[in-house]
Symmetry: C2
Subunit: 280 residues, 2 copies
């Protein structure tokens, strides 16, 4: 759904070439990449807080994931949120891409996912496997994983909302999220992006000329890279323009990203030199 503020009318239409990750893949990648989020539960009513019984309550939790990427929690029976979800299992986990160090970066442009569902105690037969999954992700939890008031819980996801920034948002099919794979490039993306912007600004501008087809581009900043391609913010005389360029095939490591970018550039230079010859 495109809404008024998602794509302001003064914004130039994006250029989208080639394959892009599905929202299910983007959501899965984000949820696997993060390790903590905000758990939203419903305040259990007690004599001390009758006036806030039923209010949504936010708290921080660390999480791991089961095979279908349902969040696994390790919480104390004395924690507010545990009392809440034991009284009413309805909950959501909100996960937000770590904010970049760039203070000019609008936090509302970063990706986030809300996973909604009911929280259930992990069944006895699955506790050992859950503990192993959880400690693999949160080694520090070994200090309290054995405390008698701590237990493992699962948020069984029944709906999920993905927001990737302006104009990129949807309710995602839970089955598609459950079977999607996380992007293998995600852990490397920050380094690749920084390197390209520092050392290859001219190459990025070249990509905006071809295949993106833009004329004058005063600056081109790589915004992100994923297994399927690159996303560039181009500055044109008409204003900023978003460009997405797909690779010829999905990539799985840094060397393959490098080869795929070089392949794009080679095509780009060939096309530009042909065009020059035709016009020259």
């Amino acid at each position: 759904m495109t809404t008024f503020h998602d794509a302001p009318s003064d914004r130039l239409s994006p250029i989208l070439l080639g394959t892009a990750p599905s929202h299910a893949e983007r959501a899965r990648t984000l949820v696997e990449h993060c390790t903590q989020g905000t758990l939203c539960t419903l305040m259990a009513t007690s004599p001390q807080n009758e006036e806030i019984g039923g209010f949504p309550y936010g708290s921080v939790v660390s999480y791991a994931l089961d095979e279908q990427a349902n969040p696994l929690l390790l919480t104390s029976s004395m924690a507010e949120h545990t009392r809440n979800f034991c009284a009413d299992a309805r909950a959501s986990l909100f996960v937000h891409e770590a904010q970049s160090g760039d203070p000019a970066h609008n936090p509302l442009a970063l990706g986030r996912v809300t996973l909604l569902g009911r929280i259930e105690a992990v069944e006895a037969s699955a506790v050992e496997a859950t503990r192993a999954r959880y400690l693999a992700r949160h080694a520090e939890a070994r200090y309290y994983a054995g405390y008698r008031d701590f237990g493992f819980y699962r948020l069984r996801v029944t709906a999920l909302r993905y927001i990737g920034g302006f104009g990129r948002m949807s309710w995602v099919d839970v089955a598609a999220y459950g079977t999607a794979t996380a992007d293998p490039i995600a852990p490397l993306a920050r380094g690749i992006v920084d390197h390209m912007n520092q050392d290859h600004a001219e190459a990025l501008r070249q990509l905006c000329t071809h295949p993106a087809g833009l004329g004058e581009v005063s600056a081109a900043v790589l915004r992100s890279v994923d297994r399927y391609g690159v996303e560039i913010d181009a500055q044109t005389p008409e204003g900023p323009r978003f460009v997405r360029l797909g690779f010829a095939a999905p990539v799985a490591d840094a060397a393959a990203v490098r080869a795929a970018v070089i392949a794009l550039l080679r095509l780009s230079r060939q096309a530009t030199s042909t065009a020059h010859k035709e016009h020259g």
Copy 2:
């Protein structure tokens, strides 16, 4: 309330000397220091999502504060959370201290606040003042503050939960939070802490000897500084020990912190040297 996991029985009792911030002050400082949080609302029921109607829903929001430190929001009528709180005003805003760059730092040891209350549209007479407050804190919002689908809302706080880490948590009096002042040292604390740990490790150990009264201390790491004093993690032969030392009077800037720490150290060295003479 001290619970089993807040203060495990194998943990040495903390040493607390002098004044410490109240939880109302700590909460107010944290909420003023941050600029975004997770908004928890109740999913409005619609034909498309009957099965998740009434579930708590988390989303990211930027916020400013009114004079009583009630959060002020600027949101679109088309955003999921706006539809939610217009149908049911009950909500909470969860604010979490920015995670330090130290990967060994347990996120559950960082401060966080949950502000619960009802969300109301800002009354027409207060919109201009609210806009000024909001844009002073979020200059980037000037691009959409005027869109016709955006409006200003206030979360009127009726209850708040503060968690400052292990063993430091409470429901805070709303009036005390509303009249508390943010700690003037908070914006400087990170720099002071890093400087002290890099260049003055010996001075920190000295403070653990006196006035904290610890014997052998193999390492002393400054954890935080605030207007009332310093907090140190001391390594002793018996295990890690938390030390809080109050200044003689509250401080309001970096020069005053420096003077207060030097004053503590002077007393410490006098006491230690006297002790040496008595025993020597």
